[in-house]
Symmetry: C2
């Protein structure tokens, strides 16, 4: 068995061995045993050699040897001199006196997936980073997050509200947070809404999921920016919508192309502030053209205003929502990028007639969003900590952005071409000179501990640019410079 396969097979189960109590060999034994009994490691699957596994895990060979012997003694492994070990047949694996707790069941055959489940199985979902690696797109600077101020907001609200914060919450969200969001998006983004139009959700993904489930029917055409955001694609196609790629140029979505390809589309999804992934701003003329189409055809426009907080030189254009006089725009914003990802708070501003349907859809999906984080977020905003944090992050990210672009220029010269036109956001897109294979490049970069995304994966059609999506917000200038050098070395 090749080394690479061993690591790929085992690492998810075997991570974090050193952070837990008890001897390492015992931990390793427990996890392997669990994996065998639950069918994660099916019968007859071959384990790596003790030497290879020890090297992969960074433990002594003796540790692995002890774990394997114990499994062998229990009849869970068959060890063969020279040819390594294989997982024993499930019959052997059943403990002699099956207790109700032991997961001894034979793994059931995979049931045939029907249409809905198949659709979900076939979706390309955006990768969710779990660690903080250099170049991860849209990862905030967690080391610079004002954690103690945030904890104080949590504690203050927890104390002040006591049991009121323990009971059920309003489906549409905690009212003080809805009010704070309405005031914030009004003042900073020109969004025109009453607080009643603000629905608190857990993420942009949940907002897009609710939109899909309420506003789209199977077969409906949806204009998607080409290239565009994978999470939106997944949400819309999970309900059977037909995705229509509409090219993006330096002015943003080419509304004329949309009109040619699918004039009767029901919805258009756009990221006008800082197009994902290309980092362009949609022009005023295009915004008006898109709104005019939506008004005339009765289509919906979903304005995903992620990252709009981060502009480093120019003033941003106000949100499209504020230009819309016919109630066709649904506006999405998130706190998970400007605060921290595990917060799980985002918001959706909907036209008045959609307030009640969306409240019901949210109730159906998960009841409501947790109250403590909502109350703490409202407190954090009301005390001015949120805008202060944004100001600080703008300075930090502007510096990081420059550091990354500088280092790329220095090391790569013109082998990378930076695409974006505005100094904004938390990532940049670069195109590869020539016709390089960006997927292979991303894999080579991953070997160096770099978390980049292939630009080509963001296209729906066959005409794809090759390049990389590179985050600059998560780590400091020195780490970015090192990452850029390392990236260029695998070009």
């Amino acid at each position: 068995m090749p080394r690479g396969a061993s690591a790929a097979l085992f690492l998810p189960q075997l991570q974090g061995l050193r952070h837990e109590p008890g001897p390492l060999h015992r931990q390793l034994y427990e996890r392997l045993r669990q994996a065998i009994l639950t069918g994660v490691l099916p019968a007859r699957s071959r384990l790596p050699s003790t030497r290879a596994l020890a090297a992969d895990l960074g433990v002594s060979r003796n540790t692995v040897e002890l774990a394997f012997s114990q499994l062998d003694a229990e009849g869970l492994l068959e060890r063969r001199v020279g040819s390594g070990s294989v997982v024993a047949l499930p019959e052997h694996a059943r403990p002699p006196h099956g207790s109700p707790r032991a997961p001894t069941r034979r793994p059931a055959p995979a049931p045939p997936l029907r249409a809905r489940a198949r659709r979900v199985a076939e979706l390309t979902l955006p990768d969710q980073p779990t660690g903080i690696l250099p170049l991860t797109p849209c990862m905030p600077a967690l080391d610079a997050f004002p954690l103690s101020l945030w904890r104080r907001s949590l504690q203050r609200q927890g104390r002040q509200l006591g049991t009121r914060l323990l009971t059920y919450g309003e489906e549409a969200g905690w009212r003080p947070l809805r009010e704070a969001v309405a005031a914030y998006v009004g003042a900073s983004r020109g969004v025109r809404c009453g607080w009643q139009q603000v629905l608190i959700v857990s993420s942009t993904q949940q907002a897009l999921d609710l939109v899909s489930r309420l506003l789209l029917e199977e077969g409906d055409a949806v204009w998607m920016e080409e290239p565009g955001y994978l999470g939106a694609r997944a949400a819309f196609s999970s309900v059977g919508a037909r995705l229509v790629p509409v090219p993006v140029d330096e002015e943003g979505l080419r509304v004329d192309a949309g009109l040619t390809r699918a004039p009767k589309a029901r919805l258009a999804y756009v990221t006008p502030s800082y197009q994902y992934p290309l980092g362009l701003t949609m022009s005023f003329a295009r915004r008006l053209a898109l709104l005019e189409w939506a008004r005339a055809s009765g289509a919906w426009v979903v304005e995903d205003d992620y990252d709009s907080e981060f502009r480093y030189t120019s003033r941003p254009l106000a949100a499209m929502q504020g230009l819309d006089d016919s109630g066709r725009v649904l506006y999405v914003g998130t706190f998970n990028k400007v605060m921290f990802p595990s917060l799980r708070l985002a918001y959706l501003v909907v036209p008045e007639p959609l307030v009640e349907p969306f409240r019901r859809a949210k109730s159906l999906a998960d009841g409501h969003t947790p109250l403590l984080s909502q109350a703490a977020m409202a407190d954090f905003m009301e005390r001015g900590h949120f805008t202060a944090h944004l100001r600080q992050m703008r300075l930090l990210y502007a510096e990081r952005r420059e550091a990354l672009l500088d280092a790329l220029r220095r090391h790569a010269g013109d082998r990378f071409q930076h695409v974006g036109s505005v100094e904004a956001g938390m990532h940049v897109a670069v195109k590869l000179a020539g016709r390089g294979d960006d997927v292979a490049l991303v894999e080579r970069a991953a070997g160096r501990g770099l978390d980049t995304r292939p630009l080509s994966a963001h296209y729906l059609g066959r005409k794809r640019a090759s390049g990389l999506v590179l985050g600059f917000s998560g780590v400091g200038p020195a780490a970015l410079r090192a990452a850029a050098a390392s990236l260029v070395s695998v070009l």
Copy 2:
């Protein structure tokens, strides 16, 4: 305008006036203005008299007078001597120099709902209580919740994990919590699973929603307990499933009736531990019959084990999941009732082949569940606080249950007939002697501040028992006795 209508119209917007800074008349003016500008109060709608509104809000008439004069001066109200005030036309309502922040848009006409949205609009969703009233079903004793221990778990985990807790989480849940849940349901409910089969979700509702979206196609038949839980009904019918009512007798779901009515159903939803709403336990023979049908026909069984923690005399039967040898059972449990509702943590245990599809469905629905509460919950369980809390709640709820049933017997005699057969749960169901109208009774009870539910609303078919679902867990014996007396007085 009658007083009642005035209160109903205004109170949602006007609640909490006294808890905010600034003079009352200014607050009232701001809120009315907002309501007018956003179309919540449409043009030509009539406002209550200053006297009636002042009385409703418990403020002085002068306060209302000041607010109305200001709105009048701005052209937002037309005041007429004798006939009260009406909201001015939207043209008048636009401020002279429309700033982008002012929500001046004419309310858009309600868009026609299409199939998916119509389905959601037509669902009967369970009422979500927002306050703690006597008799609210399934409301935990929040006053007895060990809040300081819980806060310590939150703080300990927050400190220990630092930024690790800020970043993205695994879609299927925080691993230590998945492990703690697997151990807990194994030991206490006889559920057989590896931790990898445990998916952390935000609520039973989200679990049922994910089940519906993955396992059901439009038109699929689903066996529903008759009477049964409204939240499950809503989840399954939102994806277009055909709900088949299957009667419940003293042994639980009548599997024979299901076999007659819809032998080819794709899924059966059951609450075997403590049937909702009737409070019966499904017999062992029925459980085996249901599993046998599922095995033979390839159908799924959703075992909603809500409230199973609360048994006051007998030992509970173990979960059906532990009897299932063919991987057809999906097991659902929740922390939102045994801890507190706004926690938003629940779990779904799925057969091995469904682990990956459900992980993807969760990712699509909302990314993942917040990390801090998951980490704190795992900590709370590992330290034994969870089982200690359960022990305490069992004593408390047993006492409350007795208090309510005693008081009902004393006051109502045989006008109420208690249905349940086991001493368990957080509610009881009572039937009305004769053919009383339970919906009208619930309304009369609401007039006395009692939050009860009509039994008849839990039926799908036309043959409905009339009665009440009464919670006993939220308030103490004295309050329950008072509530029972008050309830009987409106019989």
